[in-house]
């Protein structure tokens, strides 16, 4: 990675599109906040902010988990469009295991394992049999939708959604954090995956850019033949990264089903797996970038709930529902030309001439 210079690169900042996007959003938010405070008072405003960001961070959590998983997968050279399916499977198996064991944490493990197993199929087909990675990912999505519907019927004898199951209790942070005004209320009490996700961002960034494992992963994604010639096990590394992405996607799915709702509903991932991929691209294939992008999309998704409960606009619900998807497209379109994935991403690696 480029060596960071100390100090702020003002010239680069002025040319950066995310910067101006942030400025515009900040300006709009300020205008809106000002009006709101005038109309409803400061205390109500602080409740609004807390609600907005809490919802936003919760909405963002599955995206954070899945997009960081996608970063690892793609950095090692394997495109994973099947994240949507892996999240769905994770959501379902989390509920199923929780249902049979009565323990939500076992459900979490179950969801992660199911996601990992699904990713193993993707890995096998793509790495060992050189399948077209996009097609395989789409197949996994179709398969996941069908499988979860099938199991819903055969295991729970229900259609549409399951009954309630044991869900994860919120973790409550120590008082000294919760006492911080506004921020304390946002972060103080959340479902555990939120904290896991925030921790993951830091761990993932360190691993990918400061450890030998991360260096090797990046080598596999840029130039697998070069990595092979210095003794790196390209196949093994890629399997690891793809399965990891499945585990994280599964955890993201579990966040949806066990984190708040305590049940599984058909199609509950609703395209989040794809938004996570967009977040990965938007975040330039780095964990921190993916995190920020996921936060952005999470806030957008949360916005539609907030505006309904706070009665903020008269825009029809349906258009608010479209917001995350439109924003995703705009975000991708706005970052033209500067988005280069790892060089070997999507290309199967064959060691030529062996056997």
């Amino acid at each position: 990675m480029k060596k960071q210079r100390t100090g702020i690169d003002w010239g680069g900042l002025a040319k950066s599109r995310p910067f101006w996007l942030g400025v515009i959003l900040l300006a709009l938010a300020s205008v809106f906040s000002f009006n709101f405070i005038r109309g409803n008072g400061g205390e109500m405003f602080s409740y609004l902010v807390i609600d907005f960001f809490s919802t936003g961070i919760f909405m963002a959590t599955p995206l954070i988990l899945a997009s960081i998983g996608a970063v690892f997968s793609e950095r090692s050279g394997v495109v994973n469009i099947g994240m949507e399916g892996m999240m769905l499977i994770g959501a379902f198996f989390g509920v199923m295991v929780s249902h049979f064991t009565g323990n939500a944490w076992l459900g979490v493990l179950g969801g992660m394992a199911a996601g990992g197993l699904t990713a193993a199929i993707h890995a096998y087909v793509c790495i060992s049999h050189h399948a077209n990675q996009t097609v395989s990912g789409v197949a996994i999505n179709i398969f996941a939708t069908a499988l979860t519907g099938f199991l819903l019927k055969s295991v729970f004898h229900r259609a549409g959604q399951t009954d309630r199951v044991a869900k994860l209790a919120n973790w409550i942070l120590p008082d000294f954090i919760r006492d911080i005004p506004v921020i304390g209320d946002i972060l103080g009490s959340n479902t555990p995956p939120v904290y896991l996700a925030l921790l993951l961002v830091i761990v993932a960034q360190v691993v990918l850019f400061y450890t030998p494992l991360g260096l090797r992963i990046r080598a596999c994604g840029e130039h697998p033949e070069a990595a092979d010639t210095v003794g790196i096990n390209v196949t093994g590394t890629r399997y690891f990264c793809v399965i990891l992405s499945g585990v994280l996607a599964g955890l993201g799915g579990v966040t949806l089903s066990l984190g708040q709702l305590s049940l599984f509903k058909e199609g509950m991932t609703d395209g989040r797996g794809f938004i996570a991929i967009a977040a990965m691209i938007f975040g330039k294939w780095t964990p921190v970038g993916a995190f920020l992008a996921s936060l952005f999309f999470g806030l957008a998704t949360g916005f539609k709930f907030i505006s309904q409960s706070w009665n903020m606009t008269s825009i029809p619900t349906d258009f608010l529902m479209m917001l995350p998807y439109i924003l995703t497209m705009l975000a991708l379109a706005g970052f033209v030309g500067r988005l280069t994935p790892p060089a070997s991403s999507g290309l199967p690696y064959r060691r030529r001439g062996s056997a």
Partner: protein, 520 residues
């Protein structure tokens, strides 16, 4: 000009390959090959493209496994599980296409796979840098550890490759066509490095198809041809034509016979072209030259000095920032490819598989790549397959393209036949200017001869030919006038009579020779 090795080889074989046989579907790449490397010698493996040199070395290096035969290293059988294993045992390879990770730094590339660690799990960047500086100092190969591979020159990248091998304790180095990407001056530097390595006790296998270099640097030469060893000789006791003979198995015309050119009026002119490359850096900095009817203008230079961008700009594949391109008096600056073709340009591209052909299309479909939507090949939006196919059949027989029929996929043709097919297509469009870039890259001697003869024939028929090539021999054999490109500029243009390899070599490396300034 033949240097003798700095130290005498001590006569003990350090490496022996016996009876190596390796077959791929349809090709016997190595057939009962014996090869021996003595300690402290520079041994050259000489052969044309496709002769089997790379395969043999890849077997040695552990990337392939031989079907039959054994390898002895330091007297003991060599059994490896892969390239990294071979490297650990002391045999290192410097590949033709570098095995470097572009976005990473030199230091990171060096320690990849063997990273120094601090605090148990973090990469120790300082130690990595120190290791690199130590080893580069030991062998006199100066390099900046923090530079990213994609920012440094090709010659520097090659150094990193060499350092990588040395860092892991290689005693035998295999250099695979290392001079393909170097200027004559950088090649001389490489030879100095090689002699220093020999003096340090290393042994080197040097793979090449360039006779002059082989004669200059090696102690022994082994010639491989069509997968078989023809013979091994001591370099001091052989000549270029003897080696060429061994390489091809017959008397080879090293220079194509051609009569003196009779150039006519100016057909093509470029003035002050400037353009950027893919990374936004200037690739052309004011290029001007002209090509007359009935002559071949050869543009030579080391890869990466703007030749690729030049061809792209005059064929409409890249935008010119400024400058003018004229064909037969008509301004064709920045016209898209289709319009360039309509104006009378034909173009045999340097990468035949990437640009020249759609490999999944049939030969017939490829033959109409530029004019499938013109009469007589189509009327309106309807393709006329009978016309397309008969046209293809005609070209196939006229240009001796070896293919079962016109409905075979282009991808199943051999390299030489693919190139002939492209040439057939281009020449059949009655051009005013023929642009050929690296026309004989990767081809065997027979195909090369054929293509060279065809180009001279076109010249004799009064066409203007622009030849861009990285092979100085080819330029000097075919051109009537030669232009040298360096860093996006034309260093000089001279008629063939005035051109010598030394002059051209100097200009290719950026210095203008004292004697003559040449025609601009």
């Amino acid at each position: 000009m033949s240097y003798s090795a700095a130290t005498e080889p001590n006569g003990q074989p350090i490496l022996q390959m016996r009876g190596i046989t390796k077959a791929f579907p349809g090709i016997l790449a190595n057939s009962d090959v014996d090869f021996e490397l003595k300690k402290g010698e520079i041994h050259c493996l000489l052969g044309e493209n496709g002769a089997g040199k790379s395969t043999l070395m890849k077997i040695l290096y552990g990337l392939y496994k031989q079907d039959k035969g054994e390898i002895l290293y330091k007297g003991r059988p060599l059994v490896v599980s892969g390239p990294a294993d071979t490297l650990k045992k002391g045999i290192g390879m410097v590949h033709q296409h570098f095995m470097l990770i572009k976005p990473l730094t030199v230091a990171e590339n060096l320690v990849l796979g063997n990273e120094p660690v601090k605090a148990g799990f973090l990469i120790d960047q300082k130690r990595a840098k120190a290791e690199l500086l130590e080893i580069s100092h030991n062998f006199g190969l100066a390099i900046d550890p923090d530079a990213r591979i994609l920012d440094i020159s090709v010659g520097m990248q090659q150094r990193v490759e060499i350092l990588k091998a040395l860092h892991r304790g290689a005693e035998v180095l295999i250099l695979d066509e290392p001079t393909a990407v170097l200027t004559p001056q950088e090649t001389k530097e490489l030879f100095v490095i090689m002699r220093k390595l020999i003096a340090d006790g290393k042994s080197i296998i040097f793979i090449s198809h360039k006779l002059k270099e082989v004669l200059e640097i090696s102690d022994r030469v082994t010639v491989i041809n069509h997968g078989r060893i023809i013979g091994s000789v001591e370099t001091s006791k052989t000549t270029a034509s003897q080696l060429a003979n061994m390489m091809v198995g017959r008397e080879v015309e090293l220079v194509v016979q051609k009569s003196k050119a009779k150039p006519g009026k100016e057909a093509f002119r470029v003035e002050n072209l400037t353009a950027e490359n893919d990374r936004g850096l200037p690739a052309l900095r004011g290029v001007s030259f002209d090509v007359k009817e009935g002559e071949i203008l050869g543009i030579c230079g080391v890869d990466g000095n703007g030749q690729t961008e030049l061809v792209q700009c005059i064929t409409g594949m890249r935008k010119l920032a400024s400058g003018k391109v004229t064909l037969n008096g008509k301004d064709i600056t920045n016209l898209p490819p289709r319009k360039c073709y309509e104006a009378g340009i034909v173009h045999v591209p340097e990468d035949r598989q990437k640009h020249g052909l759609v490999l999944d299309f049939t030969v017939a479909e490829n033959m109409v790549l530029q004019n499938f939507n013109k009469k007589p090949f189509s009327s309106g939006i309807n393709l006329k397959w009978d016309v397309i196919k008969s046209h293809a059949r005609k070209l196939i027989s006229e240009f001796d393209v070896r293919t079962p029929d016109e409905d075979t996929a282009a991808g199943s043709l051999s390299g030489g036949n693919q190139q002939k097919a492209i040439l057939a297509r281009e020449l059949s469009r009655t051009p005013s200017l023929i642009i050929v870039a690296q026309p004989t890259r990767g081809l065997d001697v027979g195909a090369i001869e054929y293509i060279h003869r065809k180009l001279v024939a076109e010249r004799d028929a009064g066409k203007a030919v622009l030849l861009v090539s990285l092979e100085l021999d080819e330029i000097m054999a075919l051109s009537d006038r030669i232009a040298v490109m360096y860093e996006g500029r034309i260093m000089g243009i001279m008629p063939i009579e005035e051109a010598t390899e030394e002059k051209l070599g100097l200009m290719m490396a950026g210095s203008v020779p004292q004697a003559s300034k040449g025609v601009m």
